[in-house]
Symmetry: C2
Subunit: 413 residues, 2 copies
């Protein structure tokens, strides 16, 4: 059947669950925190990976296997980010023991008809896995007993002599790097772990190898996308954060209040933002049909022409908090304050700098980053265009960087 897939691909009509070994100590990142718990934009890496599975409708359970000392931390993460398909299990002393614990936990979960037909195994530190590829792995695992992601080799692989000299190089075209996710029928993965030796549990690395050796199952290999990459070093955390920031800064929603002057600004701003590869949706407000933006958009520009109107910002913050009580990412609000030339020379319309700073400090506690940009509604069209362009550049930077230290600042465009 088709059901809830949006891609038109065949839906998955058999139960699939996931085991996510996350017991690593993260030595290679050069950080104290194991890398799966390192924070990206205020949220631990593993929470992104869990979300990647939770949003797939045909995945039932996600068993996360963590070191005993991380059980409390993991429980906190699940509560804080409202994960709802996760079962946390204590890990073993090696990767295979941890995965095996996870598979056994699936057996205990629920009654027989609930048991997964296919078990997907993935790394907690590969957060960018997508539904389409998971589907391919699940279907191939069901059809062939086992399936795994592969990627072309990035370096030539060589064999060394015991004295540390080149023995020979492998012909690159014949080999592939084995990556994650991998999928197995429940039957194959259980049998592989039942039959394998202590040495396999201790030193083995590949589940695919166990399936071959102990079940005679040659896994189907599927080339995965580059987004399957694994966060291994400290630099990879920066790369992952950059990928996230890029995806969060593709668009913004500009709230005009339905005022004519603001709508004209929105039009000019849309062009300037477009030149910076940022989409802009102008809307009059976030009520009725437009309330969907509160859930789908991560960036809001509240335009204010004629007077302060920080009250509009306050209302927007409230609406976002209500719509999004456990926001997965920090949201950005930019208060865009446009002054007429009269207002600019009138001291009673002085910038409300401390009110903005205070409001931003409070909003930050709810994962909302508030910034301000101020400029003159000049009658000189060249000057006006320059301000709009600069406002767009500043907006793009604030949205891209999402810097907590700069909230509450009123910048000049």
């Amino acid at each position: 059947g088709k059901g809830d897939t949006c891609s038109g691909e065949p839906s998955i009509d058999f139960p699939v669950s996931v085991v996510l070994p996350a017991g690593g100590t993260g030595e290679r990142t050069g950080l104290h925190t194991p890398k799966q718990f390192c924070s990206l934009l205020g949220r631990p890496l593993i929470s992104y990976t869990i979300q990647a599975f939770e949003r797939v409708s045909w995945i039932q359970h996600i068993v996360v296997v963590v070191a005993k000392e991380s059980m409390g931390l993991m429980a906190d993460i699940i509560q804080r980010f409202q994960h709802h398909k996760v079962l946390v299990v204590s890990g073993g002393s090696t990767r295979h023991r941890s995965i095996c614990n996870g598979v056994l936990a699936l057996d205990e979960e629920g009654t027989a008809p609930d048991r997964p037909r296919v078990v997907i195994i993935h790394d907690a530190v590969r957060p960018f896995v997508e539904e389409g590829f998971l589907r391919e792995i699940a279907v191939a695992a069901k059809d062939h007993g086992a399936a795994g992601a592969i990627r072309p080799l990035v370096s030539t692989v060589i064999a060394t002599t015991s004295e540390g000299f080149l023995d020979h190089s492998l012909e690159r075209a014949k080999y592939r790097a084995s990556e994650m996710p991998q999928g197995f029928t429940h039957h194959v993965i259980r049998q592989a772990y039942q039959r394998c030796t202590e040495a396999d549990f201790e030193f083995g690395t590949e589940c695919l190898h166990l399936a071959l050796q102990y079940c005679g199952t040659n896994a189907k290999l599927i080339e995965g996308p580059p987004t399957l990459w694994k966060v291994t070093y400290k630099k990879d955390l920066a790369a992952a954060e950059s990928v996230l920031k890029e995806s969060l800064s593709e668009s913004a929603c500009m709230i005009t209040g339905g005022r004519t002057a603001a709508a004209a600004l929105a039009e000019a701003f849309q062009k300037a933002a477009g030149a910076l590869h940022m989409g802009l949706d102008p809307i009059p407000d976030v009520t009725a049909e437009n309330s969907r933006y509160l859930l789908k958009e991560s960036n809001f520009i509240q335009v204010s022409i004629n007077g302060h109107c920080l009250s509009e910002v306050e209302a927007l913050i409230k609406a976002l908090e209500e719509a999004n009580p456990a926001a997965l990412h920090p949201l950005v609000i930019i208060w865009m304050r446009v002054l007429t030339e009269d207002e600019a020379s009138d001291s009673s319309t002085a910038a409300p700098t401390s009110a903005l700073l205070d409001m931003a400090s409070t909003a930050k506690l709810h994962q909302i980053l508030l910034y301000g940009i101020q400029f003159l509604q000049s009658k000189d069209s060249e000057r006006w265009q320059r301000s709009v362009t600069r406002a767009a550049e500043i907006t793009r930077t604030l949205i891209r960087e999402r810097s907590p230290a700069l909230v509450g600042q009123l910048l000049q465009a």
Copy 2:
């Protein structure tokens, strides 16, 4: 002899030159620009790699091999960033043809006694290579004819059947990834290219393999540091930029003008910055002995207590431009304006926002990013401490992000 090495390791007393193949088209980054020419903090990636070799005193020439259509671009880069050891050569249709062109160009460069004893081959997209490791490769190449960097495999390597199923996995401990740099005696690399076949030129990937097959030279393999990683995908550009930004934001120099109030601020600021893992050197000015900071420091905080003193910032910009006519990185100046409570309530000391914006626009043309931070010299010590902490957080963010769009802003701490 010892000579000019600062590490106490044996100096290199034989001529060494470098070939840097940079003809790649960068398809994998998903960008239009080949990745070696992509900009990191305003400077192309390849310029960082060239610099990594130029600063090594015992390296003579660097032959950069680029596609014919990039010759002009490369000449611009050399001029703009004042590279002085580089010879640009047009590439061949494959990686091996390009490297071979580079090696032949070394033969033509200068007379026989100038010819390199050892040729190091490296990738333009591995900018973080360090002198110590280059020394190891050069010495091993001289002693054994060939040497190459290796790294542990990050993924299991598997062999596939022609139908796309798992055939077998390799035992990870027996294999290594072959990385760059590699080194060869001039004799070995020339002979390898003289003897190899058209098929090698067309399809081969490893120089180490040619040295083994055609010269009987088993390369010495040396485990390299993780910093040898290669910029391959778009995300890797973000990672490289993050590594650069991290190294540029470790410290700042605070110019107090020798004033007592500023020295007291510097002391408090030093503590707050230290808590954010940023070192701070307070100095009275950048004259005499302290002028060395103009060359070695990338971040300056000009403290201004009592009045505007944008003139001090202007003088600092001028001093930096004179000391650093071709700055390799954008430099940061933060103007820290501390107001007494009297000044804050006096409208004649209004913030010089447009003067600061103008000065910043001009400075940006010379790779100097100027920002302002303003706060009250409060008598309330708790409030004062809060401002200092906030100023440190803002400073850290501005220095870390180096955002061109935010220059000229006067932020409130």
